[in-house]
């Protein structure tokens, strides 16, 4: 006899730090000081990330407050199915996009963000590593937001692909595509600036 059982694959995708989890347990129990502690721990990177999305540091601070109110209210719903940081970042991102939506002409949906992806074939034979660090930094500053967001989460915050997928609310395959597109866009920008040449 040979039969197969297919479990209901609820992936516990990522690990959180014990500290973040403990803080979240305390927050769910009504401990406001735990919320303050989590806030202080995550705030610098969150506000930088939110500023990248909303392009206004003041609005970013407002969204940050909204985010932590949502954390306060939703801590008991955290089910250990993602890391704490990706859960909080995902909340923040949704709040930021909601805020942009409320600002009408400044709203840019994910579909709109995706429109920035430069999928045109680039000068593939050019090595990005031949550019200087300052040239690279300058080019990154000029990239569309969707590429900056991926690079920030990848390298400044060192999120894994599955954490990125959770934050961006896209499949992992899309995460990989966005990563690849960011590199392509950077190469194109460097080429446009003459930092790398044929």
């Amino acid at each position: 006899m040979r039969r197969e059982s297919r479990g209901q694959g609820m992936a516990r995708v990522e690990h959180s730090t014990a500290l973040e989890r403990e803080l979240l347990v305390s927050i769910a129990g009504g401990d406001a000081s735990a919320l303050t502690a989590l806030y202080e721990q995550m705030r610098p990177r969150l506000v930088a990330y939110l500023s990248l999305i909303v392009r206004d540091n003041g609005v970013a601070e407002e969204v940050l407050q909204d985010t932590f109110l949502a954390v306060w209210r939703g801590a008991s719903r955290f089910r250990d199915e993602s890391s704490v940081r990706s859960w909080v970042f995902a909340i923040a991102r949704r709040r930021a996009i909601d805020r942009l939506r409320s600002m009408n002409d400044r709203f840019e949906s994910d579909t709109g963000l995706a429109a920035h992806i430069d999928a045109r074939p680039g000068p593939e034979e050019l090595a990005i590593s031949s550019a200087t660090q300052s040239e690279l930094e300058s080019a990154i500053r000029q990239l569309p937001r969707i590429h900056q967001e991926v690079l920030m989460l990848l390298f400044a915050y060192e999120l894994s692909y599955s954490e990125l997928a959770a934050v961006l609310a896209v499949p992992i395959g899309t995460v990989k595509s966005r990563i690849s597109n960011a590199r392509r866009a950077l190469r194109r920008e460097l080429h446009r600036r003459g930092s790398i040449q044929l």
Partner: protein, 727 residues
């Protein structure tokens, strides 16, 4: 014998390089990737790109984080609408400022310090962000009664204490591997040679093993495979040496230093080149080292090395087959190596080929096909005149002219060169359009960029025609060889594991094709949730079912679960979100893709690999398997109970074999899925499980009389870290 990308996955590594440089790969993945980087120059180039991007990104964004942290903690209220990473001014929003004016630091301390313990340091500063948060919360609590939805006793998050205690430190502190890559990229580690030896002429130490072609223009063009020398199989050590020599060649081509590159060839190599009258550019290996390389990139990828032999004169020889980026394996390179002062150097080399055939007819109305396509390295084109008058076949650029009497045939060999050329008949009277055509010689480019896959909207209806039930009873052999090679000791069956390194390699497909595959899988997911088993069956080729039969899989036509290697939804309401990635063109023209199924927004730990064949313009699933390690577990059950009574599984694939040593029938009820396996006395039965959740469960027997304590066991399911990170 086949060597090649040992333990690697060709272009698959591209998608892992960013994770490699942000330190989130598992140690196993890092080791595998690093091993691959040692053998892949192109991958190292891309890795170096990511290393540079990572460093620059950290500088840009971490500098921004630091600025954001410091500005808001000491902030006068200044607004900015500039791009954040370009701003220099400290910022705070007007709204936040307004809220903060409702209280100051002393007020906050007075209100909250008794309740929440010692105030954090930031409360000492006006407008400190943590204090702002407390103010916001306090106002919210006071005004609208905002509270967390519970209290300490009954609404704590459902995080098991054991899970909290067992968590390891995340990968944030993982060292950046960039420095290791920098070392790897400098692997053309040979002493430069004197380029004057490229002009050497005269006798050689060994006679030519590769037969000399007729003329100088044929020198690069190649030698038919059936004319190549043969020898005795080489030892493993010799194969390793040849592999290292080929890798060194590729590394030095990537390095671009002609004097170092030329040191990899013997003096006799140059004597032979000069004897052939080759007109080569000493600074460009493409001119004298026959090694197929993608036309869009000057650096070849590590070829598959086959048929390493010891020639009768003691030298080693091998076939180098460019498996990446090619449609066929008919064109390859043949290298002969001689040992010089302890080093294995290239002594002879030639492009070689297995001859492909193309047949064309011409009659009094013209050619039977006016758009010829040649995709292999060398093709014998045979033209047959079926008309009543003499016709010819002429390709000026290739110096081909065959004049054919009625009923006669002529053959000409077309040597690979990318081009689109005109052919015609130049006989008087052959002036109609049918006597003119185009001959396209195409060499598919390697695409090292993954295709961009557009997320499909979640399909909810299964709008496909059902397959015929006859598909379940097809017999015979599949038309394509299986590329998903299962381990020899794998148990036959649908849920057979396959190791990642044995996944085939190929070049990435276009965005268009990748999205066709993605759309196909999205529709399949909808049919798995809402369609009939025959509708699901319509996504598979007949050969797929032939393969299942060959593997001994019993298929139930009414149950898609019996033939689809995908975790099925538990209910129609369960949201299936397939993730398609790594869509590549296989050497046999089929498409391979990695499929990972998500449920209600979470990705499954397991993934599958599908091979698609184009049937009538539609991509159908031709092969499929789970990918990953199968853990095999045995359990004995007797009349007194189970032995052992404690089982520990991971969330990966587990194959359980239950042996009944008792005198009556017993059973095993798997507690996660509820599946029951009955075993007759003296028999053994096997079942494969994929427990989808972790935890501690109780397993039992449901058979009559199995009520004692020995028939209660504990099953502990833990997360499989490797599987968790494999996506």
């Amino acid at each position: 014998m086949t060597l090649g990308f040992s333990g690697s996955s060709g272009p698959h590594v591209s998608s892992q390089l960013a994770a490699y440089h942000n330190g989130t790969l598992s140690s196993d993945e890092r080791l595998r990737l690093r091993a691959h980087l040692e053998t892949c120059s192109l991958c190292r180039t891309e890795s170096n790109d990511w290393s540079a991007i990572a460093a620059a990104s950290r500088s840009v964004f971490e500098g921004f984080v630091n600025r954001s942290a410091s500005t808001s903690a000491n902030s006068p209220a200044v607004l900015s609408t500039s791009l954040p990473i370009q701003f220099d001014q400290p910022l705070l929003s007007s709204n936040v400022t307004a809220i903060s004016r409702k209280g100051d630091a002393s007020m906050m301390n007075a209100q909250f310090a008794p309740t929440h313990g010692a105030p954090p340091p930031l409360r000492q500063q006006a407008f400190a962000p943590a204090a702002l948060l407390v103010v916001v919360l306090a106002v919210a609590i006071a005004v609208v009664g905002l509270r967390p939805p519970g209290n300490r006793s009954d609404h704590r998050p459902s995080i098991p204490a054991a899970a909290v205690m067992s968590e390891s430190t995340p990968s944030l502190s993982t060292p950046n591997p960039a420095s290791e890559v920098a070392v790897l990229s400098d692997s053309c580690n040979v002493e430069p040679a004197d380029l004057t030896r490229l002009d050497l002429i005269g006798a050689t130490t060994y006679e030519n093993a590769i037969p000399l072609p007729d003329g100088p223009t044929e020198g690069r063009a190649g030698i038919p495979a059936d004319a190549l020398p043969t020898g005795e199989p080489a030892s493993d050590e010799q194969i390793t040496e040849v592999t290292a020599a080929v890798q060194q060649l590729i590394d030095c081509i990537a390095d671009g230093n002609a004097t170092k590159l030329s040191a990899l060839f013997t003096d006799d190599y140059w004597r032979r080149m000069n004897a052939l009258g080759m007109d080569y550019d000493s600074s460009n290996a493409r001119g004298y080292a026959p090694l197929v390389r993608p036309s869009s990139n000057g650096v070849p990828l590590m070829p598959t090395i086959e048929d390493v032999v010891v020639l009768p004169d003691g030298r080693l020889a091998a076939s180098l087959i460019p498996t990446v980026g090619m449609m066929s394996r008919e064109s390859f390179d043949f290298y002969v190596f001689a040992e010089v002062d302890g080093d294995l150097l290239i002594d002879e080399a030639a492009h070689s080929y297995d001859r492909a055939e193309l047949h064309l007819q011409v009659n009094d109305d013209g050619f039977s096909d006016t758009t010829l396509l040649v995709t292999s390295g060398k093709t014998d084109l045979t033209v047959t005149n079926t008309g009543t008058t003499t016709h010819s076949f002429v390709v000026d650029e290739l110096n081909i002219r065959m004049e054919l009497e009625p009923g006669n045939s002529g053959t000409s060999t077309i040597v690979y060169e990318e081009a689109t050329l005109n052919f015609s008949s130049d006989m008087p009277g052959d002036t109609t359009p049918g006597f003119n055509g185009t001959l396209t010689i195409d060499f598919p480019d390697l695409d090292s960029t993954p295709p961009a896959i557009t997320p499909e909207p979640m399909a909810t209806t299964c709008d496909v025609d059902p397959a015929s039930e006859s598909v379940f009873s097809v017999t015979g052999s599949p038309s394509s060889a299986s590329v998903l090679v299962r381990p020899e000791d794998a148990t036959p069956g649908l849920l057979t594991e396959i190791d990642t390194p044995s996944i085939p390699i190929g070049s990435y497909v276009s965005d268009e094709v990748a999205n066709e595959i993605n759309s196909e899988i999205a529709t399949l997911a909808a049919c798995l949730a809402n369609g009939s088993s025959l509708q699901v069956a319509s996504f598979f080729t007949e050969d797929y079912f032939r393969r299942l039969g060959g593997d001994g899989v019993m298929v139930d036509p009414t149950d898609a679960a019996s033939f689809v290697p995908l975790q099925l939804p538990a209910s129609e309401a369960m949201r299936l979100t397939p993730d398609v990635s790594e869509v590549i063109l296989l050497p046999d023209g089929r498409i391979g893709a990695k499929i990972q199924m998500g449920y209600n927004g979470f990705m499954s730990l397991q993934w599958q690999y599908y091979v698609f064949a184009n049937v009538g313009g539609t991509w159908l699933i031709d092969e499929a398997t789970f990918v990953g390690k199968v853990t095999r577990v045995t359990l004995v059950v007797g009349d007194e109970g189970f032995e052992p009574t404690e089982l520990s599984w991971t969330m990966g694939i587990t194959e359980l074999t239950v042996t009944n040593t008792g005198t009556r029938t017993h059973s095993f009820v798997e507690p996660v899925s509820g599946m029951n396996i009955e075993v007759a006395p003296g028999e053994s039965e096997s079942m494969t499980f994929i427990p989808g959740i972790s935890g501690t469960f109780t397993f039992t027997s449901e058979s009559d009389g199995d009520s004692g304590p020995g028939f209660l066991g504990t099953l502990v399911v833990t997360e499989d870290e490797a599987a968790t990170t494999s996506g």
